[in-house]
C-alpha cells in the first residue's frame, strides 16, 4: 500500500550526505550542521504533532540538553561529541519522561500554552541562576571525537557536520519506521478522536506521552549539537521565540514526510543567512510571510508536494460529515 524507501537505502543516503560534506565550502558546512540539528528537534515536534499536539516549549528540552552537556563537559571534561549527544538526549529524555505524562491530558492551545509556560519557567530559573552564568550563560571547549581533538577549524567543522548529519539521519530513519508502525497509526488516531481510541482499549495519554518522550529526546540531542556548534550556552535556548522557530520548521515540513523536515530546516537556514547577508533585519519578516503562505497554500506542509497524500487529494466532499440528527445525550 504505502510505499517508501527501504531503511538500507536511507542509510546509504545518510552516508552519501555525510561524505558530500567533504566537498562543501566551510560556510555551507556550518550552515548544514545547524540545519541538521534544527531538523532533529523539529522532527520531534512533528512526531508529537501527529498526535494532534503542538509543543511551543521544545526549548525546554533543547536547553536541558544543552546545559546538561555544558555542565558535564566543564565539570568532568567530557568532550567527546558522540558522548555529548548521548548526554544531551538523556537529559532531554529524562525531563520528557517526567513532564510527558503530566501534560498528556491537555489538548489544543492548552497543551501549547502549558509547554510554553514550562519552558519559560526554566528560562526564568536559568536567568536567575548565577552559578550558570545568569543571562550571559557560559562557554565550553571544542568537542573531540573518539579521543581525537581537532585543531584545524575546517576539520572540526566537518567532524561536527558528520556527527550531526549521521545522528539526525538515523533519527529520521527511526521516525520513518515509527510513522509506518502500528504505534504510528494509533498516534494519528489519537489526533482525530482520542475518545474513540480510549473506547478501543488503548490509552491516548500513553500514546501521547511516548511521542512526547521521543520529541524530548530529539530536542535534548539537538541542544547538544547547538552547544557544540556555538561553544556557548545561555538562557535564550529556553526562550519561547527559540521554540517558535522549531515549530516553524515543523509546520513548514508538515507531518507526512521525514525528508520534508530536512528540506524545511535547510530552507530556513538558507533564508536566514541570505537575509542576514543582504537584507539585515528582515529575516523574521520573510519567515512570517513564508509561514502565512504555507498555512494558506500548503496546509499539510511542503511534504505534501511530493508525498502523494494517502487520500487527501480527492476531496472530502464525497460525503458531507454526519451531523447529529438528534441530540447526542442523554
Amino acid at each position: 500500500m504505502k510505499k517508501g524507501l527501504h531503511p538500507l537505502v536511507m542509510i546509504a543516503l545518510v552516508a552519501m550526505v555525510t561524505l558530500a560534506g567533504r566537498a562543501l565550502p566551510t560556510w555551507t558546512l556550518s550552515l548544514a550542521t545547524i540545519a541538521a540539528s534544527n531538523a532533529l528537534i523539529a522532527l520531534g515536534i512533528v512526531v508529537l504533532a501527529r498526535t494532534g499536539n503542538v509543543s511551543f516549549g521544545q526549548g525546554l528540552f533543547f536547553a536541558a540538553g544543552g546545559y546538561g552537556v555544558a555542565l558535564i563537559a566543564n565539570t568532568w571534561g567530557l568532550t567527546d561529541a558522540v558522548a555529548q549527544v548521548i548526554v544531551g538526549a538523556a537529559c532531554g529524555g529524562l525531563l520528557g519522561l517526567v513532564i510527558g505524562p503530566l501534560i498528556a491530558r491537555y489538548s489544543g492551545i492548552f497543551f501549547g500554552m502549558l509547554t510554553l509556560a514550562l519552558s519559560m519557567v526554566f528560562y526564568g530559573a536559568l536567568v536567575k541562576s548565577t552559578a550558570l552564568g545568569g543571562s550571559d550563560g557560559f562557554n565550553v571547549g571544542r568537542p573531540s571525537l573518539f579521543g581525537m581533538s581537532f585543531t584545524d577549524p575546517r576539520e572540526a567543522d566537518f567532524m561536527l557536520y558528520a556527527v550531526s548529519v549521521i545522528v539526525t539521519g538515523f533519527a529520521g530513519i527511526a521516525a520513518t519506521i515509527l510513522f509506518r508502525s502500528e504505534f504510528g497509526l494509533a498516534s494519528l488516531a489519537v489526533r482525530e478522536n482520542n475518545l474513540r481510541v480510549e473506547y478501543l482499549g488503548l490509552s491516548a495519554n500513553r500514546i501521547i506521552s511516548i511521542n512526547f518522550l521521543i520529541a524530548a529526546i530529539f530536542a535534548g540531542a539537538s541542544g547538544a549539537f547547538a552547544l557544540m556548534a556555538q561553544r556557548h550556552i545561555d538562557p535564550q535556548f529556553a526562550y519561547w521565540t527559540t521554540s517558535g522557530e522549531f515549530v516553524f520548521v515543523a509546520v513548514l515540513a508538515g507531518n507526512q514526510s521525514v525528508a520534508a523536515v530536512f528540506v524545511a530546516s535547510m530552507a530556513l537556514e538558507l533564508v536566514r543567512s541570505f537575509s542576514n547577508l543582504y537584507l539585515p533585519n528582515t529575516w523574521q519578516l520573510v519567515l512570517g510571510v513564508f509561514l502565512l503562505g504555507v498555512i494558506l497554500f500548503l496546509p499539510r506542509g511542503i511534504g505534501s508536494l511530493w508525498i502523494r497524500d494517502r487520500h487527501r487529494r480527492r476531496h472530502i466532499s464525497a460525503t458531507p460529515p454526519l451531523t447529529a440528527e438528534r441530540g447526542a445525550a442523554p
Binding site: V121, G124, K128, I295
Partner: protein
C-alpha cells in the same frame, strides 16, 4: 511596613498597564477564539508610535501635555486601522481552521511586525520621556512616586470599568457577550458576527497599543519588547481564565505584585515566579481562576 507598601504600590503600577494589555488579549480570545501571539507586537507598535509623536511634538517645543494627548489620539487611530485591516485582510481567511493553526497565523504576524518595527524605528533604544514629568512627583504615605506612574492606576481602572460597563450594560456589549457565549445562537438571532469579529479584534489591538503608548514615557523601546510583553500577558490571561475580564484584572494584579515582589526580594526571579504561577494554574485549574464551564475532553 513601608517596604510592603512599596511592593504593593509598585505592583499596582505594573498591574495597571498589564491589565490593559491583557484585557485586549482576553477580549480577542473570548470573541474570536484566537490566542493572539502578535498581541505584544501591537503593544510595541503603540509604544513606538507614541515615541515618534512625542518626539515630534517636543521638537516643535509644544508642552508635554500636548504630546501626551497627541500620542494617545494618534495611537488610537493607527491601532484601530491596523486592527481592522489585519482582521479583514488576513485573519478572516483562516476562520474555521484549527485553533492551533490560528495560533500559528498570529505567530507569523508577530514575526512580520517584529521586523517591521525594526525597519521603521531601527534597533537602537529610543525614548519618549517628556510626558513622564507631566504629573510631577507625588508623595504617598511617606513614599515618593513619579506622578505619571500613579496616574496609570486610575486610568486603567477607568478603562477596565468602561469595558465592563460596555459589555454588561450596553446593547453592543450584550451582542458581543452573546457571540462569546454562543456564536451559533447569536448568528441565528441575526447578529452579524463578522462585524463583531472585526470590531473586537480592532479593539483588542487598540487596547494593546494604548497600553504601549501609556508606558512609552517610562521605558526604552527596543527589539524584544513585544516578546517580553506577550509572555507576561499570556501568563495573566491564563491565570485569570481565557476570555474573562475579571480574570484579566486578577491575573494582572497577581502578576504585577509578583513582579514587584521579586524586584525587591529576589531580583531577576520574576519570570520564573510568574510562569510558575501560570504552570500551576494550568495544572490544577486549566480553565483559569475565573472560569466555571468545564466541558472539555473526556
Amino acid at each position: 511596613m513601608n517596604f510592603f507598601l512599596t511592593i504593593i504600590l509598585d505592583g499596582l503600577i505594573q498591574a495597571s498597564w498589564l491589565f490593559i494589555v491583557a484585557l485586549g488579549l482576553t477580549l480577542v480570545f473570548g470573541v474570536l477564539k484566537i490566542l493572539n501571539i502578535a498581541h505584544g507586537s501591537f503593544y510595541a507598535l503603540g509604544a513606538y508610535i507614541a515615541a515618534t509623536v512625542v518626539t515630534m511634538v517636543a521638537a516643535r517645543s509644544l508642552p508635554p501635555s500636548v504630546g501626551f494627548v497627541a500620542m494617545l489620539i494618534s495611537v488610537a487611530l493607527i491601532a484601530s486601522a491596523v486592527g481592522l485591516l489585519l482582521e479583514r485582510g488576513l485573519l478572516k481567511m483562516f476562520y474555521g481552521r484549527d485553533e492551533v493553526v490560528l495560533l500559528l497565523v498570529t505567530y507569523a504576524v508577530f514575526l512580520i511586525l517584529e521586523d517591521v518595527t525594526k525597519l521603521i524605528w531601527g534597533v537602537n533604544p529610543i525614548y519618549a520621556t517628556q510626558p513622564y514629568e507631566l504629573f510631577g512627583n507625588l508623595e504617598f504615605a511617606g513614599l515618593y512616586y513619579v506622578g505619571y506612574d500613579l496616574v496609570l492606576i486610575p486610568i486603567s481602572a477607568v478603562i477596565g470599568f468602561a469595558i465592563w460597563f460596555g459589555l454588561n450594560r450596553t446593547v453592543i456589549g450584550k451582542i458581543v457577550l452573546a457571540v462569546i457565549h454562543n456564536e451559533e445562537m447569536s448568528v441565528s438571532m441575526g447578529v452579524r458576527v463578522n462585524r463583531v469579529y472585526a470590531v473586537a479584534f480592532a479593539f483588542g489591538v487598540l487596547l494593546a497599543a494604548l497600553a504601549g503608548a501609556l508606558t512609552a514615557p517610562k521605558i526604552s523601546m527596543q527589539p524584544g519588547l513585544s516578546s517580553d510583553v506577550i509572555i507576561l500577558s499570556f501568563a495573566i490571561v491564563v491565570i485569570g481564565g481565557l476570555g474573562s475580564v475579571e480574570g484579566a484584572a486578577v491575573g494582572a494584579i497577581l502578576v504585577g505584585l509578583a513582579r514587584a515582589a521579586s524586584v525587591h526580594l529576589m531580583p531577576q526571579a520574576e519570570l520564573f515566579m510568574i510562569y510558575l504561577i501560570m504552570a500551576a494554574v494550568l495544572m490544577f485549574r486549566p480553565e483559569g481562576l475565573f472560569k466555571r464551564e468545564t466541558a472539555r475532553r473526556i
